[in-house]
């Protein structure tokens, strides 16, 4: 008897629950996809009800919209909530739909010299107060800027230090020192900016400010300097044992416009003949040379791979690139 009533109670409780949820449950064949960060829901089910409605699908559209919105609201109501100033607020997750940016990703700026040093030493910026007590004027003044606390250029009395020339103007000396400091700061700021934008400093083209430069860089700088004359380096003398620079000749050679007419005619007719002929023309010497070069390259690459495999287990990706280059040549082989 009792068992019977317990079962009845359980069944009744289940029915009640189902009834409660009936008002908010929606049956769909395919589950919707939700992106709650964007308050977005995607329904992949084909809209058959709307399709069968005909010319005025308004009511069906609204029913579909109601169902979908109900599902979205169900999801939103399951988010963790908190009470903020008598309103119930849900915390949204991050949006999952990837959308394109409106501007490109900012390039990471290189650190300034001070930032590099601070990072190295582990120096953190100390929080400083805005105003400092100034004894002289007896008031709180700013740390730097207009009417600052300890401005040594504004003093009205300066004692001549022991070893200094009595005729020297100490006030002018202080002002001069300040100007030099300002100029140095400005120079450093511009240098940091140039480093950030990677532009060349106009002072000494090709020369590094600290003087530490590699042999190749110096050589390049010297060559550039040699050519930067009015006659493009033609009358520059060379040092006794200096060799001529490699690769400074003409890169492409063109035939003169009015040259040998007979030779031109011959080459053009030959070209037409080659184009008309059905059989491909194979230049045996060039083909064999190319084949030999390719084989050499392959062997060299293999040797390098072996030696590098000995050094580290995973091969560097640069070899994949080399392989690509060779395949490209293989395509060009047929001439």
């Amino acid at each position: 008897m009792e068992g019977h009533s317990v079962e009845e109670l359980l069944a009744k409780a289940e029915r009640d629950e189902a009834e409660k949820l009936q008002r908010i449950t929606v049956h769909k064949e395919l589950e919707l996809e939700f992106d709650l960060g964007n308050l977005l829901a995607t329904d992949r089910n084909p809209p058959t009800a709307v399709r069968s409605a005909g010319p005025t699908p308004e009511a069906d559209l609204r029913a579909l919209a109601r169902d979908n919105t109900q599902l979205l609201i169900n999801q939103l109501w399951q988010l963790p909530t908190e009470r903020v100033e008598e309103a119930l607020v849900a915390r949204l997750p991050e949006p999952t739909t990837r959308l394109p940016r409106e501007k490109p990703v900012p390039r990471p700026r290189p650190l300034t010299r001070w930032q590099q040093f601070a990072r190295l030493k582990g120096i953190r910026p100390k929080k400083k107060t805005n105003l400092v007590w100034d004894e002289v004027s007896g008031q709180w003044r700013r740390r730097w800027g207009y009417q600052r606390a300890r401005d040594d250029t504004k003093e009205w009395l300066i004692e001549v230090p022991g070893g200094a020339d009595p005729m020297e103007d100490q006030f002018a000396k202080r002002i001069q020192a300040k100007k030099e400091r300002v100029a140095k700061n400005e120079l450093n700021r511009l240098r940091n900016l140039a480093r950030a934008h990677k532009t060349q400093l106009p002072s000494a083209a090709g020369m590094h400010p600290t003087g530490h430069q590699s042999k190749e860089e110096l050589g390049r700088a010297m060559q550039v300097a040699k050519v930067s004359t009015a006659s493009v380096g033609r009358f520059q003398e060379r040092l006794p044992k200096e060799k001529a620079p490699r690769g400074s000749g003409k890169k492409r050679k063109f035939q003169p416009l009015f040259g040998d007419f007979a030779a031109e005619k011959k080459s053009q007719l030959e070209l037409l003949r080659v184009m008309n002929s059905k059989k491909p023309q194979l230049d045996v010497t060039r083909a064999t040379n190319k084949q030999m070069r390719e084989e050499d390259q392959e062997e060299a690459a293999k040797r390098r791979k072996m030696s590098q495999k000995g050094k580290m287990n995973s091969g560097p990706p640069g070899l994949g690139g080399k392989r690509k280059g060779r395949q490209h040549q293989g395509g060009k082989r047929r001439k």
Binding site: N38, A41, P47, N68, I73, L88, R91, L99, P100, E102
Partner: protein, 298 residues
């Protein structure tokens, strides 16, 4: 060349427009093209009213032929989304929606408006400007072709509003519903009515509120794959960092892994039992025993 800002205000203005890690909200420009008829103008005006996007302009040349004026205006106003309305015999009631990347046109999709019911024609209560709408896309067409996929992404971009981390549940007031069917896209906006249901989650009833449009896809000008990929690139700093040495099992228990150096077990510090400590007399006898053992061996 760039002009250096001379005032703090100008500097702040330029900084707002710089490329950043996490970007500003996208603004949209609404442009009336040549021969914009009443329908198209009304659509644009409705969009201005319902959404907090802004900036209505007049008369630029056709976006599909010449994009330079669009790009110029986008640069001047710092708007990366645009909607261009026009009307001519060949393309009646034309609407071009597009977005920009780095002030150059990324995607542009031309839609024809077949039926349009404006905000003022529907005599229901409206909801306040600037609320974040809910977006629903129905229909399997939205995944079939690349055109439709880009259109969906473009519509999300256009209508989603600012990204917020918390939202007031009572403030969810309206929903935009896009249905793709038979080559047409039905755009409807409904106001949300929350009714009592037996449990915590309310039952939804909808009331048609805002502009309703029946759209047809016309021409598209989509960005090439690599430009699209470039625009989708997320900076490394924004990617969530994975914590190493932490794993979860199916029951929800979190496991952590600690790496330790090798321990010398003979020097292990265990508990000291004071009662078992060797007294000095005992230690001496032990030593003597050990010595005698050694002598025995020899």
């Amino acid at each position: 060349g760039l002009r250096k800002p001379k005032t703090k205000r100008a500097k702040r203005f330029l900084e707002k427009r710089e490329p950043k890690l996490s970007e500003n909200i996208k603004n949209a420009m609404l442009i009336k093209g040549g021969n914009a008829n009443l329908t198209v103008t009304q659509v644009l005006r409705d969009v201005v009213l319902t959404f907090f996007l802004n900036f209505l302009r007049k008369n630029i040349t056709r976006p599909f032929e010449d994009q330079t004026s669009l790009e110029f205006f986008s640069k001047k106003s710092d708007c990366s989304l645009f909607m261009f309305g026009s009307h001519n015999k060949k393309r009646p009631n034309n609407l071009v929606i597009g977005r920009m990347y780095d002030y150059h046109v990324l995607d542009m999709i031309e839609l024809g408006i077949e039926k349009f019911v404006s905000l003022k024609d529907i005599k229901n209560s409206k909801c306040p400007e600037g609320t974040k709408p809910m977006l629903i896309f129905a229909g399997d067409d939205f995944d079939v072709t690349e055109d439709y996929r880009r259109l969906k992404s473009l519509l999300i971009d256009f209508f989603r509003g600012p990204t917020v981390s918390n939202i007031r549940l009572a403030g969810l007031e309206y929903v935009l519903h896009f249905t793709a069917l038979n080559g047409k896209i039905y755009f409807r906006s409904y106001k949300l009515l929350l009714k009592k249901s037996g449990c915590r989650t309310p039952r939804i009833e909808l009331e048609e509120m805002g502009p309703s449009l029946d759209l047809v896809l016309r021409r598209t000008h989509l960005a090439s794959d690599d430009l699209y990929k470039l625009s989708m690139k997320t900076p490394k700093a924004l990617k969530p960092k994975k914590k190493k040495n932490i794993s979860h099992d199916t029951f929800g228990t979190t496991y952590g892994r600690i790496h330790m150096q090798k321990q010398d077990l003979s020097k292990l510090q265990t508990r000291k039992m004071k009662g078992l400590k060797k007294r000095p007399a005992e230690r001496i006898t032990e030593d003597q025993e050990k010595k005698s053992k050694k002598m025995k061996k020899h």
